[in-house]
């Protein structure tokens, strides 16, 4: 870009920098240039690229499925409705298999999680330099296209799930029931402090593991794509080899992005099932 020579380290760190909008230390609001500037903005800053891509993908998928839902008929389904029904049935089966109670929220929640995370993960399959380069041409300095490779996105969703876990725990077990589940297991009433510690960690670990598993997988996948992309600057032979590697990794990655979306969804269902069960 603009003639300067980029080292590999620069290239990688540039790729890992979100487009951050926040308050500069001098009081003005704007886009952060560089990692230090972004971290100086503190908590009240937004990753515009993460939010933009995730919300854009979410709106797109909901729009498409909403259009299908409006026209859905019980007669012979056509094209898109077929696909939507296939997905809906798949989710419905999974929810029925894992969730023992009856809750109208669970299936749409699982559906949204699965499709949304899959689409966000899917952004990983677009060549790493393609969208950032296009953005650079119109003057956007940084762009990370995979929202799920940003821990903010995965943590945000995991906290949403965590909130639901707490909500249903309180609603179905009652505050007393929920507390006794945390305090009187697994060692009985005498081991109350130990129980609280163990169960507390157990509870907190749910959203954290949910978020970090997805983030870690996507981050690692993105990193490998970036590393492969570096090979393109290493001459013809290395570049051709890099091309092969990229195709191979992309094919393998299709499996990973689907699997991670599925795992996030299934664990959400299982956690909510545990939160909704009255007795142990």
């Amino acid at each position: 870009m603009s003639g300067e020579v980029l080292t590999s380290a620069d290239y990688i760190s540039h790729h890992l920098q979100n487009l951050t909008f926040g308050q500069h230390p001098d009081g003005s609001w704007g886009i952060a240039h560089g990692a230090e500037a972004a971290s100086e903005m503190g908590f009240w800053a937004f990753h515009v690229d993460t939010l933009g891509f995730s919300i854009g993908l979410g709106v797109m998928f909901l729009y498409i499925f909403h259009r299908v839902a409006k026209q859905a008929t019980a007669d012979a389904p056509s094209g898109l409705q077929n696909f939507a029904e296939w997905v809906v049935e798949f989710i419905e089966d999974t929810v029925k298999g894992s969730f023992s109670g009856r809750n109208p929220l669970i299936a749409p929640l699982a559906f949204t999680i699965f499709i949304w995370i899959f689409l966000m993960n899917f952004m990983d399959l677009i060549a790493v330099d393609f969208l950032p380069h296009l953005a650079g041409m119109i003057g956007i300095p940084y762009l990370r296209v995979v929202p799920t490779a940003d821990p903010n996105a995965t943590l945000g969703m995991a906290f949403g799930v965590f909130f639901l876990i707490l909500y249903y725990s309180f609603k179905i077990k009652g505050p007393g029931g929920f507390f006794s589940e945390l305090a009187f297991q697994p060692f009985g009433k005498l081991g109350l402090p130990v129980n609280l510690l163990l169960e507390g960690v157990n509870l907190i670990a749910k959203p954290i593991s949910l978020a970090l598993r997805l983030f870690g997988n996507m981050y690692a996948g993105e990193m490998i794509f970036i590393l492969i992309a570096i090979m393109y600057s290493g001459g013809l032979v290395l570049g051709a080899f890099g091309g092969l590697l990229q195709i191979g990794w992309a094919i393998f990655h299709i499996l990973i992005i689907t699997l991670q979306a599925f795992i996030f969804m299934t664990l959400t269902i299982v956690y909510l099932d545990m939160a909704s069960q009255e007795h142990h």
């Binding site: 890992l16 979100n18 951050t20 926040g22 990692a35 972004a38 971290s39 903005m41 503190g42 908590f43 009240w44 800053a45 937004f46 990753h47 993460t50 939010l51 995730s54 919300i55 979410g58 909901l62 499925f65 909403h66 299908v68 839902a69 409006k70 859905a72 008929t73 019980a74 007669d75 389904p77 409705q81 939507a84 029904e85 809906v88 049935e89 419905e92 109208p104 929220l105 299936a107 749409p108 929640l109 559906f111 949204t112 949304w116 929202p147 940003d150 821990p151 903010n152 996105a153 943590l155 945000g156 969703m157 906290f159 949403g160």
Partner: protein, 156 residues
Amino acid sequence: MNINATLIGQAIAFFLFVVFCMKYVWPPILHALEERKKKIADGLAAAEHGKHSQLLAEDRAKDLLRKAKEQAGEIITRADKRAAEIVDEAKDDARAEGGRMLTAAKAEIDQEVNRVKEDLRGQVVAIAMAGAGKVLGREVDETTHAELMDKLAAEI
């Protein structure tokens, strides 16, 4: 890689998407699926029902056919019997008619015989009269001797 307010924005977006999906996307699709399931089940039930009633109708048709055949056989038997009766009656009639005609013919013959006898008697009387006249030599007065002649004719 900083943790910042993006997290909150993402959580809010997540919440809104789930609510939208729960209200406007999931129920209609699921409803369509349920409806189709019901439709198919109904269709299968109707097909089963149709098959059943077809079997019943076939049974009934067989029954009717059997009855019709029985009736037809009965009618044929009765017709045969009646035909035989008619033939017998016709024979009887013919025999009776023949007898009557024979009697009439006999009566006619008798009549004819009587007439011829009467005729012959008259002629014999005339011949006898002529003979007697010749024998007596004179004309027998027919008018005066008519009584006598009639007596003679009755005797012959």
